[in-house]
């Protein structure tokens, strides 16, 4: 296990350099005149141009110049310096403000998923082919079929504007209440998947031979389902939830955009729209690390849950 984790960490270093290089190249290599892009429509004086060329190491040109700037950027990154966005703010400050909001939103979405998705999945499996099972099948297909870009504005309009149960937008430093509706919207997709996955897994396990053994032992049904079946059924579900948490943590561009939540996805989207290279690369670099770590955590968790899995 230790060797497995070590090997995975080394692979992560490679993956990290690879992804940052690609994102860095995509953001900067294609730009015509970055200084003019920074200034927008206004004229740039020679003195300003000389200062900015010096500051952003733009005097080195061509592929060599690109790698020189990339390595300089990486050097800062490794020291924990994410640099400044084009608006002059420290990127680490932007992230420090945005991340807690995104994490809160992600946890609400995950809680909704576990609370309703997993519970309903277990119930649907136990009462297979019943009314509840069929109802959840139709509902989950409906949810899976509607993209977030449609679902989010719909929820906002009906539950925020038409019948104002929830605040329609979150704004700066949002409360739990303001994040609840976006959390449900964000969680609905993983809720539907978790429900289907749980139902399939529990159904399969209810037919397993060890269930017959447990019945032959004279155990009560509650214990057979609640301990024997559930413990086996939740292995794939927990794995899915782990990966999903990684996804949710990296921000939800659409949901945060629609509900005006100042999270990571919101800032990333703004960075892309305003061609703020340093901001985009900075955020993506951190996202890559979050994503790699959460995946590693899922792999380790998988081995803990299923004794048959051993990594070596």
């Amino acid at each position: 296990m230790f060797r497995f984790i070590l090997r995975r960490l080394l692979q992560m270093v490679l993956a990290f350099f690879g992804t940052t290089l690609i994102v860095y190249a995509l953001m900067f290599a294609g730009q015509g005149d970055p200084i003019q892009a920074l200034a927008g429509e206004r004229p740039v004086t020679a003195a300003q141009r000389a200062y900015l060329t010096e500051k952003y190491h733009l005097d080195a040109t061509g592929v060599g110049g690109f790698f020189y700037r990339y390595v300089t950027y990486l050097g800062g990154l490794v020291r924990g310096d994410l640099g400044q966005s084009l608006t002059g703010r420290q990127i680490s400050d932007i992230l420090a403000a945005a991340w807690p909001v995104t994490v809160k939103l992600a946890l609400i979405a995950l809680a909704v998923t576990v609370l309703f998705g997993v519970t309903a999945g277990v119930l649907a499996a136990i009462r297979r082919a019943g009314v509840f099972d069929h109802a959840t099948l139709v509902l989950t297909l409906l949810v899976l079929g509607i993209p977030t870009i449609v679902l989010a504005p719909l929820a906002q309009y009906f539950l925020g504007v038409r019948w104002p149960i929830f605040p329609p937008t979150a704004g700066a430093e949002p409360s739990f209440w303001a994040l609840l509706l976006p959390g449900i919207v964000l969680g609905s997709l993983s809720l539907a998947t978790a429900l289907r996955l749980t139902r399939t897994s529990v159904t399969e396990n209810l037919r397993a031979d060890y269930v017959r053994t447990a019945r032959a032992k004279g155990l009560v049904r509650r214990r057979i389902v609640g301990v024997h079946v559930l413990r086996n059924s939740l292995i794939p579900v927990v794995t899915f939830l782990g990966v999903e948490l990684g996804n949710l943590m990296s921000g939800a561009i659409i949901t945060e955009g629609v509900f005006n939540i100042p999270g990571v996805g919101f800032n990333l989207f703004r960075g892309i729209r305003t061609e703020d290279g340093p901001l985009v690369v900075g955020i993506v670099s951190v996202l890559v690390v979050v994503y790699l770590l959460s995946n590693l955590a899922v792999d380790v968790l998988y081995a803990v849950l299923d004794p048959r899995i051993r990594y070596e």
Binding site: A208, D209, Y210, R212, T213, A214, R215, A216, K217, G218, L219, V220, R223, H228, R231, N232, I235, L305, D306, P307, R308
Partner: protein
């Protein structure tokens, strides 16, 4: 060998004149989308305290379904018990509530299954699984259950039992896994043990060890044993009586010696003749022609008639009744006496 051994007195009271366990005219059908399969069609057999009954038959003959009906662990749907009685100590199990039947499982009648790898829960340590019945049913503390689990593992001769308590099923060999299964079944000290093809998934040498273990445990603990198998070789050394099943019926019922000496049903005869023999040189191995019947369309008359070398018109028209041949032997064949006298050499 075993049938001559001195047995301890039966552990449980059996009503005078009755048997410890008796299946009477049991009917079970499976209702599926494709139709109704009549899986058990009037099975009758009994088991006395301390004896070993072998139930022999091909896959699909209904031997496991009968056992699961006794345990009350048939999956309903698709299985439905349509008629008959299952008397345990004189009381019909089929008329009792599910809760009462649950109480019987494990404490009175316990069961072990064919493939121990899938029959054990893969994510719990074996010690936990053996101790579960003790904690949940007998109310033992965790520590006491652990201690008793080690004793049980010792009893089924698992080496270094205390060290292996925390191991998972996949960490055991096939034979050791089946021993874990047996230890689990013995946890609540049952009166009847049903072993459903306990050695089918195992190597031949390991098969012999498991059969010896079962025979020893049955004798030492004074249990009664129902041994379900399709392997005549497994039965010979261990069983007292044999019930041969075909298409959901008992076709022949006899004590082991007389059945081996002179089978009285063409199906049993076919089974015996299809065992490879070391003492007869250069003979082609005989087989029973054809396949077991589709249980949704069981042949008229005697269900074995399409495959039977003795078959006459009467076998197509009339269902044979059990013919009593003396010494408690029965055979459901119109020509039982002829088959019996027509000896296997």
């Amino acid at each position: 060998m075993t049938q001559n051994a001195v047995r301890p007195t039966p552990a449980s009271p059996t009503p005078p004149g009755g048997h410890l366990l008796e299946v009477r005219d049991l009917h079970v059908e499976f209702r599926t989308r494709e139709g109704v399969a009549r899986v058990i069609n009037g099975v009758t057999y009994h088991l006395d305290a301390g004896e070993t009954l072998a139930v022999l038959g091909e896959s699909g003959s209904g031997k496991s379904v009968t056992a699961q009906a006794i345990m009350g662990i048939l999956d309903t749907p698709p299985a439905h018990v349509r008629g008959g009685q299952i008397l345990y100590q004189g009381r019909d199990l089929l008329t009792r509530s599910e809760e009462e039947r649950r109480q019987v499982r494990g404490t009175e009648i316990a069961m072990i299954f064919q493939d121990a790898l899938s029959a054990l829960n893969p994510v719990f340590p074996v010690g936990w699984q053996i101790g579960e019945s003790l904690r949940e049913r007998a109310g033992l503390s965790r520590a006491d259950a652990r201690r008793r689990a080690v004793e049980l593992m010792d009893l089924v001769r698992i080496p270094a039992a205390a060290k292996r308590l925390g191991d998972y099923p996949h960490q055991f060999s096939g034979g050791m896994r089946q021993r874990v299964m047996i230890a689990m079944a013995l946890a609540l000290d049952p009166t009847v043990l049903i072993a459903d093809e306990p050695t089918t998934a195992l190597d031949v040498t390991v098969q012999a060890q498991i059969m010896d273990l079962l025979a020893d445990l049955r004798r030492d603990l004074g249990m009664a044993l129902i041994l379900i198998t399709h392997d005549l070789g497994v039965v010979a050394g261990v069983a007292d009586r044999i019930a041969v099943m075909y298409a959901g019926r008992i076709v022949e019922h006899a004590d082991v010696r007389s059945l081996y000496r002179a089978p009285a049903h063409p199906y049993t005869k076919g089974l015996l003749e299809s065992i490879p023999r070391l003492d007869v040189r250069g003979q082609a191995l005989s087989t029973i022609r054809g396949l077991p019947p589709n249980l949704m369309r069981i042949p008229s008359g005697c269900p074995f008639h399409p495959r039977c070398p003795y078959a006459q018109q009467v076998c197509v028209d009339e269902v044979p009744h059990d013919l009593v041949l003396g010494d408690g032997r029965t055979s459901a064949c119109h020509f039982a006496q002829e088959v019996h006298d027509d000896r296997v050499d």
